[in-house]
């Protein structure tokens, strides 16, 4: 017998006492309470999701939504597939509207200013106060609102009519120049309708149509359709003309890096080539066309005459073409003329009535800034007694030079209907917090002839006593003895749709219920507009490059952020942490600088510079971007808030500061800057739009530097790795199936490495699973077991990043904060890789940027699995690489061994620190992981299990129908680039999509991982070098 305790004995003792502690521990645990409903609502079954149809209010596009609720809480938003605009998809911002609903910074009660400070008040008090003030204002009431639905507009108009005053619409982002140009050219006071999918050559003159503007989701879908290879091995060509490549621009096949403001010159130069000598074809614009021959256009734009001639030639001859006029990022002092020039180009190329229509266009904001300018003047002139602001935040979105803050501050009584703090409500005397759109009734008319209904999907979040502004106005109207047509907005809305259903169709109530279910009300088809003759301009327009203020050497571009819009999404941690689709930077602002410009000034990524315009200056780190001209720098809108909530203001962005002493927190520097600081307040003539491209700037290094909070690891280079290969259109072979690549080389290289014994691959396709010789036991009935697989068409993917946020929402993926991202601890299960292959900002030519969504590849031969000491990760019989959270002990070996860098580790208690009620969004079907656990894409296992359960209950066998299971990323994808299903079934969509000569699997030839994710190579017009 030996002395001392053997390890085994010691463990026994520990086990016994441990069990004792656990037992006593159990009995003293506070009991978990389990609360029943008093009366269960009809449409709720515990544990089963209830879906409601509504309309997104994230931007003016008004996509149809389906909202998933569980036990009365909204947990996920998805596109309504029956809706003609969203077509079943949503953008990243649409996904993030849930974080506005549960925004912990929302106003909890009405707020009343007393002795200079805001205090909580009651609704009774607030409404009485407002009624009293309106009475004493004696008809001098100003109601400033953003774009609203028809019923709400009607109600507000009725309200201001009754109390005496006027309504001014102010939209931070507006398409006023396009609308004005359409009115001038064709006498139609509406936005044109585009048929992008029907075009074979699309030329965007600075229109960032898949990220901002009238209908980004719809247009992204159309772009994907246009640019996808068809069965004739042909695809539409997309040319981007503009000084900076937005995410829209990065999808182009060719880039014309023209000087800022030279869109009109290029468009007219092209039109000149198209009409030849016959300038009379341009009708009243013949003299303009003569003035812009291709040579002068080339000089004005800084691209070669030859390139313009060639593009014009194609525009005329390569099937139907379409040109889109400048959007918000290119609203300069001649923006209406530039849009008009693009319309003339479309006209002379015969596109009007073919790909561009003058009827049924989007009904999105086109109100000019000039209206607001007038309102500011009347406020400053003391002519306004009460001002009410709804849905707009001009104190942030307008530059100081507009004088808004002073004029607004001078008004005697200021009312804000903001549901959460913003810069404008901070100045208000009374805040009457509106409900979120997911808690509200309403309607919207996204295009003429299409009426959609909005309904509340849950009771208002109980943390906040919000009240629908419609209800407030009706109630205040009653106090003032005005009958506005109803006591609640719900009644009012129903009355507005009294003609929804004719008596012949049955009871009105049925029609209403049906409309709510579908979300659509069919209304009249708008009259066709067939007169497409060009009309003479009513005033003199100049098509030259616009004047820019200041004598700086760089032109400043200010563009709406794909993540924040004009700033309204800046307090959503999902949006802040979503890598910008272009720069891949999270959380903070950056200034885009061309590499040559940076080199000439000795600047590197992360160097702080002071950007100075005649109107102000900001300090911001630079990010070197080859997709911007040398004489141009760019700043995104949307950040640099001062009173917009904890994350936007920069007080909630650092996770470490919450859990560690302040000294341990790495200083991150400036979080965001508001580019409006640098802009004048100018209204473009004649449309009256706000001018964003207005000024020159200088930049000067401050000597300070920071690490960019970027998720990009390789500076946009594939470093010779065939991660996102492409294939030239000319190299596609007729009728040839995808080649099975050889794996010999990779196998030899890996032999004997750390116990990882590769198995021979058969057929090299995801169908070949389980692999022969793999350590998994053979599955009894492989024919009854699905092999789940995904196919992603890179020719369709636009890199918009909607999938990243959809995944985050579905799978309870936490945000981690700026400091954690800087340490490489971001946790999104998906990322969008962006590699530059050919980006030349000095001349017009081919553009080649590869965009690739990267997620767990669900390898059949997964490198992560053999290194896990506790078998926490393994491949399921369905070929899904599963991560078992309760087994995981956090060694992180798997992440180190993953060649795709798709495994993320929860380093700190990220999920626990998500504040109430933001955590109400959690999906109850998916485990909320705590710290110390590795996680990654699960192929939405909860969705798979739900469908399998349903199939079993309906006795349909073990495999759900094809298409019954939809991944969260796939669901949200506007381009419909992602397909998922059972690849063992040759008739499934994923099998059919994968049977393509463009199919490849990332790094499979090199390391034989046998992924379940098939990618379809991007197709280029130009030859590509290594087509492997």
């Amino acid at each position: 017998m030996t002395d001392g305790i053997k390890r085994r004995d010691f463990l026994k003792v520990l086990g016994v006492t441990g069990a004792g502690a656990a037992l006593t521990g159990c009995s003293t645990k506070p009991a978990e309470r389990f609360l029943p409903y008093l009366t269960m609502p009809e449409d709720i079954t515990p544990g089963v999701a209830t879906w409601y149809t509504t309309v997104c209010e994230g931007c003016a596009a008004q996509c149809g939504m389906w909202v998933k609720t569980r036990s009365g809480r909204a947990i996920k938003v998805e596109g309504n597939p029956h809706h003609p605009i969203s077509g079943g998809a949503l953008c990243a911002k649409g996904q993030a509207t849930l974080q506005h609903l549960y925004n912990p910074d929302r106003y909890a009660t009405p707020m009343v200013r007393e002795n200079g400070a805001l205090r909580a008040g009651t609704w009774e008090e607030a409404e009485n106060l407002l009624a009293e003030r309106i009475k004493s204002a004696a008809g001098n009431v100003l109601f400033v609102s953003a774009h609203m639905g028809p019923s709400m507009t009607e109600l507000v108009n009725g309200f201001v009519r009754s109390v005496g005053g006027r309504r001014v619409q102010y939209d931070a982002l507006s398409d006023a120049p396009l609308r004005e140009a359409t009115r001038i050219a064709f006498g139609v006071d509406a936005l044109p309708r585009y048929d992008i999918a029907g075009a074979r050559l699309l030329v965007s003159f600075g229109s960032d149509f898949i990220e901002t503007g009238a209908s980004p989701v719809e247009r992204a879908r159309e772009l994907a359709k246009m640019s996808a290879v068809d069965e004739h091995r042909s695809k539409g060509r997309f040319v981007y003309v503009g000084p900076r490549l937005s995410i829209t621009g990065l999808n182009a096949d060719e880039w014309f890096p023209i000087k800022p403001g030279a869109e009109a010159a290029v468009a007219l130069g092209m039109a000149n080539v198209i009409v030849g000598g016959n300038t009379a074809a341009a009708g009243p614009y013949a003299p303009v066309l003569r003035a812009f021959d291709p040579r002068s256009a080339a000089t004005a734009a800084g691209v070669s005459e030859d390139a313009i001639r060639k593009l014009a030639d194609r525009f005329m001859n390569e099937g139907p073409s379409l040109a889109l006029g400048p959007g918000v990022a290119a609203h300069h002092r001649n923006a209406t003329a530039a849009n008009l020039a693009v319309l003339i180009l479309n006209k002379v190329a015969g596109n009007v009535g073919r790909t561009l229509y003058l009827d049924g266009g989007p009904n999105t904001p086109t109100r000019p800034y000039a209206d607001m300018e007038a309102a500011i003047r009347s406020m400053a002139g003391g002519k306004v007694g009460v001002v009410m602001i709804h849905g707009a935040n001009p104190a942030y979105t307008l530059p100081a030079a507009s004088g808004f803050k002073d004029a607004f501050g001078a008004v005697g009584f200021k009312v804000s209907f903001a549901s959460a703090p913003d810069e404008t409500s901070a100045m208000a005397d009374l805040i009457m917090p509106d409900t979120h759109f997911l808690e509200s009734w309403g309607d919207s008319e996204p295009r003429a002839g299409l009426m959609t209904l909005r309904q509340p999907v849950m009771l208002p979040v109980p943390h906040f006593q919000a009240k629908h502004t419609g209800d407030v106005l009706l109630s205040v109207g009653k106090r003032l003895e005005h009958d506005l047509g109803g006591t609640t907005f719900y009644e009012y809305l129903r009355a507005q749709h009294a003609d929804l259903h004719t008596p012949a169709m049955g009871e009105w109530e049925y029609g209403w219920q049906d409309a709510l279910k579908k979300g659509l009300v069919q209304t009249k088809v708008p009259p066709r507009h067939t007169d497409t003759q060009l009309r003479a301009p009513h005033s003199a327009l100049t098509f030259d490059a616009p004047p820019l203020d200041g004598d700086g050497d760089l032109t400043l571009l200010v563009y709406p952020s794909p993540r924040f819009g004009a700033g309204e999404f800046a307090n959503s941690p999902w949006m802040l942490e979503l890598p910008d689709p272009v720069s891949k930077i999270t959380w903070h602002s950056w200034l885009e600088v061309n590499p040559a410009t940076a080199k000439a000034r000795g600047l590197e990524d992360g160097d702080f510079v002071t950007v100075t315009s005649p109107y102000g200056s900001v300090k911001v780190p630079i990010w070197i971007y080859p997709g911007i001209r040398e004489d141009t720098v760019a700043l995104a809108m949307g950040q640099g808030h001062t009173n917009f909530g904890r994350w936007a203001d920069g007080t909630g962005g650092n996770f470490m500061s919450e859990v560690l002493p302040a000294t341990a927190v790495q200083p991150a520097g400036v979080l965001g800057v508001n580019p409006m600081t640098l802009l004048p307040a100018v209204a473009e003539q004649p449309s009256g739009a706000f001018v964003t491209l207005a000024t020159k700037v200088t930049i000067e290094a401050t000597g300070e530097q920071r690490r960019l909070a970027t998720v990009e690891g390789s500076n946009g280079s594939q470093e010779g790795r065939p991660i996102a290969p492409a294939v030239a259109l000319a190299s596609l072979k007729p009728g040839e199936p995808a080649e099975s690549p050889s794996v010999e080389k990779g196998l030899k290289e890996l032999q004997g490495v750390g116990g990882f014994v590769p198995v021979p691959a058969h057929g090299g396709t995801p169908q070949a699973f389980p692999l022969e010789g793999s350590r998994e036991p053979p599955y009894d009935k492989p024919e009854e077991t699905a092999r789940w697989a995904m196919a992603i068409d890179l020719d369709k993917c636009t890199g918009c990043s909607a999938c990243v946020v959809a995944c985050q929402a579905e799978n309870n993926v936490p945000y981690v904060g700026e400091d954690q991202v800087m340490m490489g601890r971001e946790m999104q299960w998906m990322r969008i890789e962006r590699y530059y292959e050919k980006v030349d900002a000095t001349q017009a030519g081919d553009l080649d940027v590869r965009i690739l969504p990267m997620l767990c590849q669900h390898c059949g031969n997964a490198p992560c699995e053999p290194v896990c000491p506790v078998f926490a990760t393994y491949t399921t019989p369905q070929g899904v690489n599963a991560q078992i959270y309760n087994r995981c002990v956090g060694t992180r070996y798997c992440a180190n061994n993953c060649p795709y860098k798709v495994r993320v580790f929860n380093w700190l208690r990220y999920t626990e620190h998500i504040p109430e009620p933001l955590n109400w969004q959690f999906n109850p079907d998916c485990t909320v992981r705590d710290n110390g656990v590795m996680e990654k894409c699960s192929f939405c296992m909860q969705r798979v299990r739900e469908a399998e359960n349903r199939a079993a209950l309906e006795n349909r066998g073990p495999i759900p129908k094809d298409g019954e299971i939809v991944m969260a990323c796939q669901q949200s994808c506007p381009a419909e680039a992602i397909v998922w299903g059972n690849i063992r079934d040759p008739n499934s969509r994923v099998s059919q999509v994968s049977a393509n000569q463009r199919t490849y699997r990332v790094l499979n030839d090199e390391i034989n991982t046998q992924p379940a994710v098939n990618y379809l190579k991007q197709v280029t017009f130009h030859p590509v070098e290594a087509e492997d």
Binding site: T17, G20, P36, Y37, P46, G47, A882
Partner: protein
């Protein structure tokens, strides 16, 4: 000899520490005692499953699924809404324990949900779809024990124990259904 002493000593010290810890927690819990009508069992109302679901004389033999109706169509068995209790009890004042039914009606009139103490709960990382199991022909009793014979449920059925994965797996093996981890853990 020395070894025995060491084992005993270590065990003793650890046990004492555990006990002290437990005492401290008990005191904490006493301070947190919530409801004034805390029933000694811990449940706010002494709901007798046997009287409702039992089949002995004087018991009503109500099917489990009458109250826990979502069990056969959802992952959750759910709690019956109080309107379901009241539906019967507004005409059945109770013979054995009328004071308990008075409590129920009290909650109902105050429009206050009964704060039941949750007995059966799988950990968050376990997904147990009730409907699948009922569809496969399992009875409620196989996991929850002979509930229809129990008056007030204060403990989980010892067969299951609440955190005994081996028990789940043994049944899955016996029935020849999947034992792959991701069936329950995701």
């Amino acid at each position: 000899m020395k070894k025995q002493w060491l084992i005993g000593g270590t065990a003793g010290v650890l046990a004492l520490a555990a006990l002290a810890f437990a005492r401290a927690q008990d005191a904490q819990q006493a301070a947190n005692a919530e409801s004034p009508d805390n029933y000694p069992s811990g449940q706010p109302i002494a709901f007798p499953h046997n009287i409702h679901a039992g089949s002995k004389p004087g018991e009503f033999h109500i099917d489990c699924m009458y109250c826990h109706f979502s069990a056969e169509r959802s992952v959750d068995a759910g709690l019956p809404p109080m309107s379901l209790c009241v539906g019967c009890h507004q005409v059945i004042p109770g013979t054995k324990n009328p004071q308990e039914i008075k409590k129920l009606m009290g909650y109902w009139q105050r429009k206050q949900p009964i704060p039941w103490v949750r007995i059966y709960k799988t950990p968050d990382h376990v997904h147990f779809p009730h409907a699948r199991h009922i569809h496969a022909g399992l009875t409620c009793q196989e996991c929850h024990g002979q509930v229809q014979d129990v008056s007030v449920i204060n403990h989980r059925d010892p067969v299951w124990g609440g955190d005994n994965m081996g028990w789940c797996v043994s049944c899955h093996r016996k029935k020849g259904v999947s034992t792959t981890c991701a069936v329950c853990h995701y």
